[in-house]
Symmetry: D2
Subunit: 344 residues, 4 copies
Amino acid sequence: MILLDRKEYLKNPVEHMKIDGTLTIDGLMQQFKNSGSFGAGRLAAACDIYEKMLRDKECTIFLALSGAVIPAGMRTLVADLVRSNLVDVIVSTGASMVHDAIEALGGHHYKGNWTVDDRELYKYHIFRIYDVLVPEEDYVKLDYKLAEVFSEIADEKKGALLSSRELARELGKRLKDKNSILRAAYEENVPIFMPAVRDSEFGFVHWLHASQANRENVLNLDAFKEVPEICGICSDSPRNGMIVIGGGVPRNTIQSATLASKKGLDYAIVLTMDRPETGGLSGSTLSETVSWGKVKSQADNVMVIGDALMIFPIMVGSVIERLGNKFKRTPYLRHAHQQNLREK
Amino acid sequence: MILLDRKEYLKNPVEHMKIDGTLTIDGLMQQFKNSGSFGAGRLAAACDIYEKMLRDKECTIFLALSGAVIPAGMRTLVADLVRSNLVDVIVSTGASMVHDAIEALGGHHYKGNWTVDDRELYKYHIFRIYDVLVPEEDYVKLDYKLAEVFSEIADEKKGALLSSRELARELGKRLKDKNSILRAAYEENVPIFMPAVRDSEFGFVHWLHASQANRENVLNLDAFKEVPEICGICSDSPRNGMIVIGGGVPRNTIQSATLASKKGLDYAIVLTMDRPETGGLSGSTLSETVSWGKVKSQADNVMVIGDALMIFPIMVGSVIERLGNKFKRTPYLRHAHQQNLREK
Amino acid sequence: MILLDRKEYLKNPVEHMKIDGTLTIDGLMQQFKNSGSFGAGRLAAACDIYEKMLRDKECTIFLALSGAVIPAGMRTLVADLVRSNLVDVIVSTGASMVHDAIEALGGHHYKGNWTVDDRELYKYHIFRIYDVLVPEEDYVKLDYKLAEVFSEIADEKKGALLSSRELARELGKRLKDKNSILRAAYEENVPIFMPAVRDSEFGFVHWLHASQANRENVLNLDAFKEVPEICGICSDSPRNGMIVIGGGVPRNTIQSATLASKKGLDYAIVLTMDRPETGGLSGSTLSETVSWGKVKSQADNVMVIGDALMIFPIMVGSVIERLGNKFKRTPYLRHAHQQNLREK
Amino acid sequence: MILLDRKEYLKNPVEHMKIDGTLTIDGLMQQFKNSGSFGAGRLAAACDIYEKMLRDKECTIFLALSGAVIPAGMRTLVADLVRSNLVDVIVSTGASMVHDAIEALGGHHYKGNWTVDDRELYKYHIFRIYDVLVPEEDYVKLDYKLAEVFSEIADEKKGALLSSRELARELGKRLKDKNSILRAAYEENVPIFMPAVRDSEFGFVHWLHASQANRENVLNLDAFKEVPEICGICSDSPRNGMIVIGGGVPRNTIQSATLASKKGLDYAIVLTMDRPETGGLSGSTLSETVSWGKVKSQADNVMVIGDALMIFPIMVGSVIERLGNKFKRTPYLRHAHQQNLREK
């Protein structure tokens, strides 16, 4: 808590926005920065922090994906961030990578409505994710196709224990869709961790694969193998930054890695609708994480309270605009650490 | 609830956003429209509805202002909407008009932080509104200046009972700041209703004014006088639309007026963080309002869940951009009804 | 912010609850007090503060009512609090007093469901308040009956300007239902303020009354008259306490009165689901109010985050139990100030 | 959506609560049942559903634990539910079982405050979980002690791949504290699944264990092994019920198991503060799960919106009271399925 002189508190008057019909996204964001308060002020701060992360040549950027990222239409956006080196490490729920794979295999998510009759959808074999719909057949197709892929990997690995990162990499290697996050990450050597991978369709795909008659090799996923992998990335980076879409296990995994590696985050952006008072991790304040050493006390950090699926594209749009076409970023660990992570 | 054929549910695949560094606000909104889901989808729908309201030549547009609209930097934005005839009627808390008057009299809101020590602020006579600060002297200056204005109005009206709309108009007449909402509304003949005006600094200004020694005339505000005024506007409009920032009394007042006038809203946009389950009006669904007849069952309507102080400028920016420079709107009731409301 | 020695932080271990089948409400609350954290800890603190208010012989207790208090089944509960002298002043939305009057006139609220078809309800002339239903005829009956009452009051008052408190008192005098809050308050001389009374069915009742042919006297409600009334109560009380159900105008009115009377609250309990980040008053923290002087920096205060309509009865149940049968409370201002407020 | 005759909608008037000083928890809940609306109505419905689950002799009851269950003081409560056979299967975050183990090893959680200075806590090596504090030394002690336990298990298992359920069982076998959830579950043969176990202190304990010099055997955790285990439980149960504290991975795991086993839940209670609109799983409606077949369309189900750490003890208190002392429950699968799960 900073104690100031009275006049220090009253230094920056709120400037009132002037919205005309010609503003770009970053033009709007500059207005938000001058007004500076409530959600708009937080969003402007988030854009500044992401820009700062990207311009810091010694910072590794972790992106936490939870919630309905792909059904929200952000698949190409995330893949593009990976391909442009604007994100270095992804920590995701299993579900988001399942959704990515569904689309890579020709499936789709469909625009729907949250007031439909779910009993009717059930009869139609259509699954609902709030206002997005997925036909069951897309899941079934995924299950069978991926079970084959799992078997192929198992035969190749012959009983070796994989981490979720290695599984994601093997999947990316076999998906051909250039808009796929898994594919883009494979091509760019961006590690994708799925700490709760078992809690997704991948769990059932595995079961399908493992229960095949006469299967000699079974794909074995070591739950703990990735722990030193992600901690190593934090350790090897002079500085670390985190952007969280939602919260949950992906947020916790990144924060814990920065704690275990005794680094602490230098930059942290959390976009969430969850609230802190009930003690859940997703809504916990970034101040709280300072007590643990997960976020450094002097870190640039902000939580934007709202729907991350609306806020993240705005933030990215603003930052890409200000970086401009000529901006090129070389991830600090690309040549160092990731070489070691690359499959031998 | 609409029952569809299976294939009807699966007609519109979510299209994935493509964010480059050149998007305008409406360019982003078109992306949101194609992705179409969650907060982004709702926001895109809100923009479409506001555009539709504006292009409907027989629709009167009500804007409900609650929460910290002026401290959030939206004062000029609202004044500009009034001056551009993009809003026809304002229903506001007293506080927002107090904040408007404070700035018209040379006061300011200041960018602050929500983690400051409130006991220190108290000692410094600085008031906090989340992350915005106001020095007490700006309120004091307002009190004395406005008490004089109240006395001036009282002397002019000689005991006549005013409605809150008439009070707002008298205030606007006396404020010279062109960025003032009260002033813009006065010049454009846009009525401003303040149904809970007593619950604001105006209440204490009145007390100050009324307790002056030897005061012959006291400004008398009739709590109920404005009821037929606002209902009359609804009645006289072929169609009515509502945009709500926040909720509370301003939202309820508009909805009740459309009910009492037996019109029902044809368009409704609510931007709020409140939730429906506890039964409060601010978070109640627009579906619920259909049972009352406040919103028509076939109305275009959407609630966007989030911080209205961030969402409203985005929505306005998108809609102004698509309307273009040449768009001119003539409010339906400008020549009809508002002539009658104009002070004789 | 208090700075402590390390061991001071680690003084009180969380004690784990032991729930058997014989706990009374206060028995559970003692468990919550020992565990002491998150929502349960806040609720236990709220009970302690309400108890403290009641045992403080020089404290006036303000109850703010917003949201669907009567539809939630809390009508008798509030009336009983009034009759037992466990609440001294009520500040309410107009709606809650409308709901009270509807039931006093034989109407009912009905248990419903939030997933019904609102278009069907509209056809049936049934109004929905989340999961509660009200038949339109109960409102119509209210309108006509109350319009008569308004006319009766107007004839009696012959043009005198009433405050909302005086209107509430006149209504209570004429309602005979002993479970009515308005009636109980009338009998016990508990003032009920309705600062936004115009924003309720009372506004339309007034219109009905005022538009009657050949009406000589019209009931005139002075919007500002109650300001010095409520401030006077604060001034005259050595200490003041506030319990808020929900927030909105009722909360703001109480807080502003304690500010304007230069007293500041000594006790404050807010039960709400609203959140602070968007800058609205309902969700604002009690810490923020300290900067204004609305709540004293050393006041006992707590916000319980949740559905007030569930939490308030639990809190009252716990506190009544610990007070016991023999507890009698004499409101400090009963003989002093309220005598003056009593109609002459 | 049910279509009713008009009078069917208006059948059950809200009965107003009567709170005296003698109510037991279930006495209060009966009041909530009669009033029947908003949060109180939902909580009363949750109690009824839990009671129904318990009285259904062919139902297996899954409890999902997420959030700060142990810091909230609910450790003994959950252990008692396990020992009383009022819960059959637990699906938990890793963190809750870490917290359980910390206390079993003599550590504590401490009552704190959410307004402390986190930078000071950091210097003091005290970790904050909202308003609960834990000294770092309790974590360190846990790490070293558990690393030994992991080594002991590894030596015993000699490279065999364990599921998280088997790990939980091995831990419970070695903890001696009777108030430990892990211990109670071990003694009562209640399986505990930790689908995201890697995302907790256990992940770092494993690293510590695995990196010991000259370690011959390493404890290997198979991420996918538990999938058929939990699905088997669902399959073998004539009916399945779910109680969710919070949401997240534990909720998703149970729901997915009922889907994969083609059973669907017959009873579902979710206690959460999360909201549905942003598309996250934790806040998703139970109606949505019907489209997937996770919850049956005719299932008894309710979501209670609020702090689960306050609501769960109230619900349990009410249900235990109504069951009475003599109630004995024999889990359906105790003799059937769990025999097979028992370690050979």
